[in-house]
C-alpha cells in the first residue's frame, strides 16, 4: 500500500522539479523485508522507496546495517533506521546529512528539502554564516532531536 497519497506525491514532485544533479539516498536497515526488520526500519525503507520514485534524478541504495558494516562506518551511521543523502554526480561526497528514524509528519519536509538542496546546490545561508563556517578548524556534529508531530 502506498504511504504517500496523490496530493503528497504531487507536492514532492513539485518540490524536486528543480533538481539538476543526481542525488543518492542510502538507507540502512537490517534483515530487509524479513520478520526481524524493525518496524520503523521497514516503514522508513518503504517511505524512501516511494520518495525515490518521484524524481528521475533520485536513486536509492538499501544497505544492511550488519552485513554492510563498512559502508555504515564510511557514512558515520551508528544506528538504524538511517537515511543518508549524497550528491551522486562524482563530486567529493559529503556524508554529513543524515536522518535517523522515520522522517514522517513534519520531518517529512526535512527529507524533501534535504533532497532538494543536495540536488540543486541551492543552500540558503547568510554571508555571515558562510564566513563563520570557513573559520571552523575542528569537526562539529549536530544532533537535532525531533518528534514526528
Amino acid at each position: 500500500m502506498p504511504l504517500l497519497d496523490d496530493r503528497v506525491r504531487k507536492q514532492v514532485q513539485d518540490a524536486l522539479a528543480g533538481i539538476t544533479r543526481p542525488v543518492k539516498i542510502v538507507m540502512f536497515t537490517q534483515g530487509e523485508g524479513g520478520a526481524i526488520e524493525c518496524e520503523y526500519c521497514s516503514e522508513t525503507r518503504e517511505l524512501v522507496e516511494e520518495v525515490s520514485q518521484q524524481s528521475g534524478k533520485l536513486s536509492l541504495e538499501v544497505l544492511d546495517f550488519q552485513a554492510d558494516e563498512a559502508r555504515a562506518r564510511e557514512y558515520g551511521v551508528d544506528k538504524i533506521p538511517a537515511v543518508v543523502l549524497l550528491a551522486g554526480d562524482g563530486e567529493p561526497a559529503r556524508h554529513g546529512v543524515r536522518l535517523y528514524g522515520i522522517p514522517a509528519g513534519y520531518e517529512f519536509s526535512s527529507l524533501v528539502e534535504g533532497l532538494r538542496m543536495v540536488g540543486t546546490g541551492d543552500v540558503k545561508l547568510s554571508d555571515a554564516t558562510r564566513q563563520a563556517l570557513a573559520r571552523l578548524t575542528k569537526p562539529v556534529h549536530l544532533q537535532v532531536f525531533v518528534t514526528p508531530t
Binding site: 520503523y40 554564516t129 573559520r135 556534529h141 514526528p148
Partner: protein, 65 residues
C-alpha cells in the same frame, strides 16, 4: 532541522543528524531530552527550541574552533 542540514552542506567539517526522539530512547535518556526540538552539538552544547541561524552558528563556532 533543515538549518542544521544546510550547515552540513556548506561545510565539510559539519555533520548534522535528525534523530527521531521516540525511536531512540537510549539517546533521549543520555541527552535528557525533555522537549523537542533539542540540538546537541559535539555532545556538550545543548540548545532547546527552534534556533535562529545566527545563534546556531555562534554555538557551532564555539564547538569547532
Amino acid at each position: 532541522m533543515v538549518l542544521a542540514h544546510k550547515l552540513a552542506l556548506a561545510s565539510d567539517l559539519v555533520s548534522a543528524d535528525m534523530v527521531e526522539a521516540t525511536e531512540f530512547p537510549h539517546l533521549t535518556n543520555r541527552y535528557q531530552v525533555q522537549a523537542v526540538p533539542l540540538t546537541v552539538i559535539n555532545e556538550t552544547i545543548r540548545i532547546e527550541g527552534a534556533v535562529p541561524e545566527s545563534l546556531l552558528v555562534e554555538k557551532v563556532l564555539e564547538a569547532g574552533t
